[in-house]
Symmetry: C2
């Protein structure tokens, strides 16, 4: 459930890769709603406020995108702004990664979430039976889509991934998707340019029922206990921030 | 320093009150930069990405607003969107506050930051020698402005404040401004509608040199040690999130 409701508005936002079939080059996307000065409340302005409140984690525990904002969210995700936003975050992340000094003992690691971080579900969310999250999350149809393994890479993420590998980080992928989809995930990651990693962690039977925060925190703790130093985390969920700060506090 | 550089893009964003002299009714503010589909990079799109990266705390340790984004930030802060964004956060906060059950022993408290949370410095930041933070922070001129005590209230914050009082919360104001400005701060708060509070905490000599995070965390810890239960924090800085999560972890 969390996966679906949190995908759209991301700590590290995602985008659609260059040959994504739903991004028509040359088409104008109105990225933002109209504004006005007559004092009446414009629907679009509300969608912008709603999105900002979610992005900054001020609005929590929401289930679906308000139906009146489906068009706004769709335009944002299919337009250039989403890609630009991700590139800005990738730039800041690379600057941070380059500032670190690695020990050279293969224990310096970087963890990536998968969905809406290194791969994007935009083609799924753009479907008429999904409406960018304005319709309730359907686990069956989402898993069918995951099993197809056709998620495009996020260009900014692929650039970040390649830079991190060059800098000497060991890469871990940590996904909330279940273990039974390992084969599809591996094929999907490799097909779009993620050729190497230390470990791909999927949700096991014992993790069922855990929230994303609890599940990912548990797995990160295991890595730290195994002697790894987590120098970076990239993800699309606010749980990431809480986990990172909590783990820092507990150390 | 932190106060200035963090004011513009806020966890809880702020706005300009109804009779703020710099908001000309009837004037159209272009809230967002132009978009296009020809593939070339538009300056405005970068400002939007820069702002999102700051709002979500992906971009940290920045000193000034990029000069090329001064106009964008100014339009945003002077326009209706800023006010709408704050109202959305106030709505979510009130919903949360109403969900709490108070013990009725006067120990349930709510802490507000002051600048860019309950009061706004927009009139100062709009000045030609400040340029919405695109020029370097000038502590002397900022303090002169604070001493005048002419900051407008943020409408959404005043509504939230009144609601919290009605619900029975004890209000604490926690500001990074120095103790010597107490008289000006008290007069300013009362003049714009904040008539009552439990305590107004200003930075003392012993706090000089502390970061906003260290200073505010120290003061919050003192409140907890004195038996208060901090049920809510409203502020404009990311330090707030870190402090809250850290304190929860340490408990």
């Amino acid at each position: 459930m969390r996966l679906a409701v949190l995908f759209i508005l991301a700590t590290i936002v995602t985008t659609c890769n260059a040959d994504c079939h739903i991004l028509q080059e040359g088409q104008i996307y109105i990225l933002r709603p109209q504004s006005g000065a007559t004092g009446h409340q414009l629907e679009g302005l509300d969608c912008l406020s709603w999105r900002l409140a979610v992005e900054t984690n001020n609005l929590q525990n929401w289930d679906t995108v308000p139906m009146s904002c489906e068009e706004y969210v769709g335009h944002y995700m299919l337009g250039k702004q989403y890609r630009h936003d991700y590139e800005s975050v990738a730039d800041a992340t690379i600057k941070y990664a380059k500032s670190l000094k690695l020990a050279g003992d293969d224990k310096d690691i970087w963890i990536f979430d998968v969905d809406e971080t290194v791969l994007t579900n935009i083609p799924y969310y753009a479907r008429s039976d999904v409406l960018f999250g304005a319709l309730p999350y359907n686990k069956t149809s989402f898993n069918e889509w995951i099993a197809e393994g056709k998620l495009p890479a996020v260009p900014g993420a692929l650039r970040l991934y390649k830079t991190l590998l060059r800098l000497g980080f060991k890469i871990f992928f940590l996904t909330g998707v279940e273990e039974e989809y390992r084969k599809a995930r591996v094929a999907n990651l490799k097909a779009v340019g993620y050729h190497t990693w230390e470990k791909l962690i999927l949700r096991e039977d014992a993790d069922k029922g855990l929230t994303a925060l609890a599940y990912k925190s548990k797995r990160r703790t295991e890595l730290v206990n195994a002697g790894y130093r987590i120098l970076g985390n990239s993800g699309d969920q606010w749980s990431l921030c809480e986990v990172a700060v909590l783990e820092r506090a507990i150390k």
